[in-house]
């Protein structure tokens, strides 16, 4: 079964000027990501990479076409059902980490446990998650006391709390220096080896090199990257 299946995906934005034509972001994207696959999507700014992740994650519902994630057609799902899908089955990682400043690292990792029915055995899992990303000794630290790389590790532990089968990452190394970014990429490789499906949008070749498949979003269409295809 495919983890993600997109058919004829289009996204329309309002016209820039009153009375103008609506802007079409894509020409109808088709994409299938198999379970356990690590797919990187490259593209320049404004091509809709983040929008693609938001649609796959059920955060953006204003689109045309068909989106099926983990066997669930998103079009017919209620807001609550989409929230439940994100809560249990999808982990998000953002470029700017998006940790809550008032919570400690451990509490940030536990954030998904605050919602819905919570996460079983959440605290133990959170501590294990922090240990896995090398942050066990920083559990009580607040985000302001952490470096960029450390914050991203905490964000990854948060995304993994519910042990989702699908991770969506939006420029995960965009705010990190080269060395720290390598550490994050190494983590992604580990997760890929563990069988988690990863869809990562990036403009960094080093991230794409870790992926099992690389696609380029250009001129409203997805193209395979001939440089790296199948090289992972």
């Amino acid at each position: 079964m495919s983890a993600i299946a997109l058919r004829g995906l289009r996204k329309q934005y309002p016209p820039r000027e009153a009375g103008g034509e609506p802007q079409q972001l894509w020409r109808g994207l088709d994409l299938t990501v198999a379970e356990g696959e690590f797919v990187a999507v490259e593209g320049q700014s404004g091509t809709g990479k983040s929008t693609l992740l938001h649609i796959v994650g059920g955060l953006d519902r204003a689109y045309e076409g068909e989106v099926v994630v983990l066997g669930e057609p998103l079009r017919g799902l209620s807001d609550a059902r989409l929230a439940a899908l994100r809560h249990v089955h999808i982990g998000f990682i953002f470029q700017s980490f998006n940790l809550l400043g008032e919570l400690t690292a451990l509490e940030n990792v536990l954030l998904p446990d605050y919602f819905g029915d919570g996460v079983p055995d959440a605290e133990r899992r959170a501590r294990e998650g922090l240990a896995r990303v090398g942050m066990a000794d920083k559990a009580s630290a607040r985000p302001t006391a952490l470096s960029g790389g450390e914050r991203q590790r905490v964000a990854i532990a948060r995304a993994l709390l519910a042990r989702p089968p699908l991770l969506l990452a939006d420029e995960p190394t965009g705010n990190l220096d080269a060395r720290t970014g390598e550490g994050i990429i190494g983590l992604f490789r580990e997760l890929h080896r563990d069988g988690i499906t990863l869809l990562v949008v990036t403009h960094e070749a080093r991230v794409s090199r870790a992926a099992s498949r690389v696609l380029v979003l250009r001129d409203g269409e997805l193209f395979p990257d001939p440089r790296l295809e199948g090289s992972a």
């Binding site: 983040s50 929008t51 938001h54 649609i55 994650g57 955060l59 953006d60 807001d79 609550a80 929230a83 439940a84 994100r86 809560h87 249990v88 998000f92 953002f94 998006n98 809550l100 400043g101 008032e102 919570l103 509490e107 954030l111 998904p112 446990d113 605050y114 919602f115 819905g116 919570g118 948060r158 519910a162």
Partner: protein
């Protein structure tokens, strides 16, 4: 969203916005403080009014009309037959006849009065009442003991208050309690008047013995057993068959109106002078309390508007954070609940502070009144009566105001497009 987690997240958010929390909760505290303060003041003043004019909502005093068709024809008498008919009015549980002493009387006292030598002469107004009227207020037997025996009297408790607060301080007399006075005997001369300067034939002396104090005794005069008054009136050749008035007690206060109508249909009138005075003063106090409470409610409403503005600003500032929560599984309901929980905490803190402010204000006013105001009859220890219901009402209104203020911000937070929220800078 589980309550413990909700509390933790709300607490974390509030701790970030301590300044805004202080302003929002402070506004609520001011409004609720004023509300509880004025409600307690109104209730305290009502209590004073009840002390000064103790009227029962279940009682009516029936009198013979001074000018009326019935009285002109001599048809209306408050006699035993009329008393029986009054007792049969539906809703009447008890009827207590009263009979005025129809001869003048004076009391003279020369001698020691609780350690002070006094010389006193007073006109006495005597009212005969049924012994059952006072119940346990009469601490000595309250019944006619016949010629030669001391006459038991019951005095309105307010007279003792007036004596202690006005009469005694001005004359250097001792402060007295009802326990000290019960059993005290003083002379009465029946058939004589200082004011009218006349002495009736058959004037004689007797002794009065204080049997107790009661709010149910008429303020002007000394209450004596009705049989004693009848005997004295007969002795001086006065009409001893009728009554001066009859006190009716209703089974329930809401029956009083119907009973009053029945009494008037029978040709009698109602003496409502004291009752009306008490009701008018009580109504004035209620009106002022209501006006001040409305002012306090307005302050609370302004606090709710302030909360709305604060939470709107907070939602704007936390747009991205709300997007993150949606991304990790929060529903629209979770987001709204979180905002409302923060508002609830703000309201509860404001409400609790408001109640404390009101208590503190009441304490200070009482202190100033205690030291600054001269002693006067019925001066209360406290002008405030903080009823637990008012405290609960204050906290509940604070909670409601905060939730009302945060309602629209919570709704707009829940309606945020999570994808757009995540891209907010």
């Amino acid at each position: 969203m589980r309550p413990a987690r909700l509390w933790k997240l709300a607490n974390a958010n509030l701790s970030r916005e301590l300044g805004a929390l202080a302003v929002s909760a402070g506004g609520v505290a001011l409004g609720i403080g004023c509300l509880v303060f004025f409600l307690a003041l109104g209730r305290g003043l009502q209590r004073v009014v009840r002390d000064v004019f103790p009227v029962s909502a279940r009682e009516l005093e029936v009198v013979v009309p001074q000018v009326g068709v019935g009285s002109l024809f001599g048809e209306v008498h408050l006699d035993d037959a009329a008393l029986a008919r009054l007792r049969q009015i539906p809703g009447v549980s008890e009827a207590f006849p009263r009979l005025a002493l129809r001869v003048p009387a004076v009391t003279r006292y020369h001698g020691l009065f609780f350690g002070r030598e006094i010389h006193m002469g007073l006109e006495v107004l005597g009212i005969g009442v049924s012994p059952e009227l006072f119940g346990t207020d009469a601490r000595l037997p309250f019944a006619d003991a016949g010629e030669g025996a001391p006459i038991p009297v019951v005095v309105n408790r307010r007279l003792l208050e007036i004596y202690n607060k006005v009469f005694a301080p001005q004359r250097g007399l001792p402060q007295l309690t009802d326990s000290m006075l019960v059993g005290f005997q003083f002379p009465i001369e029946l058939g004589r008047s200082y004011v009218a300067a006349k002495t009736l034939p058959g004037t004689y002396e007797a002794a009065l013995r204080l049997a107790g104090f009661s709010d149910r005794a008429p303020l002007a005069g000394l209450s004596m057993p009705i049989e004693t008054i009848r005997r004295i009136n007969q002795r001086f050749g006065q009409d001893a068959t009728g009554y001066s008035s009859v006190l009716l007690r209703a089974q329930r206060s809401e029956q009083v109106g119907e009973i009053a109508a029945s009494v008037k249909r029978m040709g009698f009138d109602l003496d409502e002078s004291e009752r009306n005075r008490a009701l008018q003063i009580g109504a004035a106090v209620e009106l002022v309390t209501l006006a001040l409470s409305l002012l306090a409610a307005l302050i609370t409403a302004l606090a709710a508007v302030n909360i709305a503005q604060a939470f709107h600003a907070e939602v704007r500032e936390r747009t991205r954070e709300i997007g993150v929560m949606r991304a990790v599984g929060a529903t629209r309901g979770d987001v709204a609940t979180l905002i409302l929980a923060e508002a609830a905490v703000t309201g509860l803190i404001g409400g609790a502070l408001g109640v404390l402010l009101a208590r503190l204000g009441g304490f200070l006013v009482d202190r100033v009144a205690h030291k600054g105001l001269p002693e006067f009859p019925f001066k209360p220890d406290s002008f405030f009566d903080f009823h637990p219901g008012h405290v609960l009402l204050g906290v509940a209104i604070a909670l409601a105001a905060a939730l009302a203020g945060a309602f629209f911000p919570a709704r707009s937070a829940a309606a945020l497009d999570p994808a757009r929220a995540l891209t907010e800078s």
